[in-house]
Assembly symmetry: C2
Homo-oligomer: 361 residues x 2
Amino acid sequence: MGEGYREEGDQMASDRGQRKSTIYDIATSTGTSPSTVSMVLNGTWRRYRISESTAERVLGAARAIGYAVNMKARGLRLARSGLAGMIMPHYRNRFFAGLSESFEAGARERGFCPMVVSTQRRPETEREVVERLLSHQVEFLFIVGVARPEPLNDLCRAAGTPCVNIDLPGANAPSVVSDNRGGAAMLTGLLLDKIAATGGGAGSGGADLHFLGGVAGEYATEERVAGFQEAVAGHGFTVSKTHIHRCGYSPATARQTVEEMHHRLGGMPAGLFVNSITAFEGAIQFFKSLEPDAFRDRFIGCFDWDPFAAFLPFPVTMLRQNVEAMIDQAFVYMEEYRVDACPMVKIPPQFGPSGTVPRHG
Amino acid sequence: MGEGYREEGDQMASDRGQRKSTIYDIATSTGTSPSTVSMVLNGTWRRYRISESTAERVLGAARAIGYAVNMKARGLRLARSGLAGMIMPHYRNRFFAGLSESFEAGARERGFCPMVVSTQRRPETEREVVERLLSHQVEFLFIVGVARPEPLNDLCRAAGTPCVNIDLPGANAPSVVSDNRGGAAMLTGLLLDKIAATGGGAGSGGADLHFLGGVAGEYATEERVAGFQEAVAGHGFTVSKTHIHRCGYSPATARQTVEEMHHRLGGMPAGLFVNSITAFEGAIQFFKSLEPDAFRDRFIGCFDWDPFAAFLPFPVTMLRQNVEAMIDQAFVYMEEYRVDACPMVKIPPQFGPSGTVPRHG
DNA sequence: GGACAACGCTAAATCCATTTAGCAAATCGG
DNA sequence: CCGATTTGCTAAATGGATTTAGCGTTGTCC
């Protein structure tokens, strides 16, 4: 074969209607060759001594028909897709929504088209989506909030695609997580201070402070429990295992757990450390049934942030994970990616609301 | 040219390291041709009389090297990218988060890889992102919450890509929106009934019910104002323009507006219709400063839903837009897309929480 | 035994953009 | 006026998967 581009004879291919226009169309209509068109559109034409007048002619024709490059073809040729992938459990809280938006901004800044897909925490979906993204040749992949990211890391490695774990760490890729332990210790310390200031809290050496939510054995939960216990011990209290309720993340079980706790104690504890916004949602479902007075001198902390939770009828201290810093770090890891290096960094969370809107990108 | 696939002589191309594996690799390693491999991997091999044993051999080799099809190449050949695009303002509320997740589930069900990109309501970003998605050959595009979608619709039309507007309608593509007018009338009626039941509300023929938030001239706002007024009139009250505060969507201005209103009235009105969750966020910033008693026999409604807002220290009636139905309808429009038809459908919103988790996909 | 079908597979064109090697014409130097 | 250079552009290969047309071999049937 090798007839190159379309010759005279079928000039009017445009009557095929909705076919997308290509550089061949532009070449025919301007009486030039596809190479010329490609060079002009890529801005490399000066280097190949295409004349100013030809360049203008081509550019004009391209604009006239609203030409847009076919990234499929370009990507195939250049082995660069221009796609940046990220998977995450869902978008239904500020942490994930913020990660998503920061990622998109960062990807766009770097000239990629962001591709975020949610997987509803289903391992099978996670795997399928990663395979899909890889087959679309994403140039790197951020894996957010996956309990066991190693199989996904391996998939990426097999495809030669850099990846970074975010929120939950994994052994087979660089990981960026919140400083769960430090943050939990900080929040716990703050609650203990508040309790102490009101003169309450110490019953027979143990602090009247409970930990609610999370999954036993899960990285983030155990880190936070450790920070919690560390702070409790640091304040001179003994640590009681019975004060720690790893009841999962679902609002329903958190609600039930907090209700039972309330029943057992005959009222609210002096302090409550809630491990996530979803557990918090469950807790306040129960709180709703209590008198406002039940919260006098009671202090609640939450390792997550939501604008509405800040306006509840009792004081809540919220920890906001530093979404922007996490994403920035993830990009750094991605840029210096080597298959053999799997560092892990812990980003300190911050108190209070502060904006979740990412940098403009 | 035309040497087809790699001949003897460079069998060991695999020493090039990280190159992704192709059907040519499989063909060489199994002693077959790329065509055969392609047919086997696509499941069309029986139709072309490939023997069972060859098929097994090829399949085995593919699995062994972890072969994944290159969607770039396939897409180029088939003029089908397998990509489904959606743009939306952001993910920071349940409405958008829900749309996003429903879309992803629907796209996956239909065999597409979803590609959701947020544009922060910046028209320039919207345009850029749409161009990008089109150049990646998305097979259709959902455009969510864009004030003036027509230029984007035109871009899609030029590319021969079907698109559907969601949340805010546009003249140049099918549109799926909430029944803003009907929903607003429903919510307004409910507030008026509650007010009437407490015996309050009627001051010199006008209802003591205010409308807060939204942008003058914007489609959704004006529809909701119309529904609001319709219901007020329907209850036998005269409609007062001074009760309608289109103060935008930002929490800050909503807060200020509601504060001024409170000052002017010397207290809370009997009813308050809040036009969006962000305006609501601003309003409760102010409410926080009031005594709980200020809300006795006061009724608040919000044309949006958030799980936390439901647990505030005063009753709020929330309208939840029917995200799943909207996305379903959008897929229907997409499937029966014709460039000349631009229908619009209004999906009734619903009271109360109900889940935002989309169908499993 | 010769025509024909069935079988099992492959060659080659195609999708579109990129890029290197190189061709023909114009210009220049001497 | 001839060889050398510059100018302005094009041919053709490339990337990976798909798909139609068709090739060689074996088996069947009259």
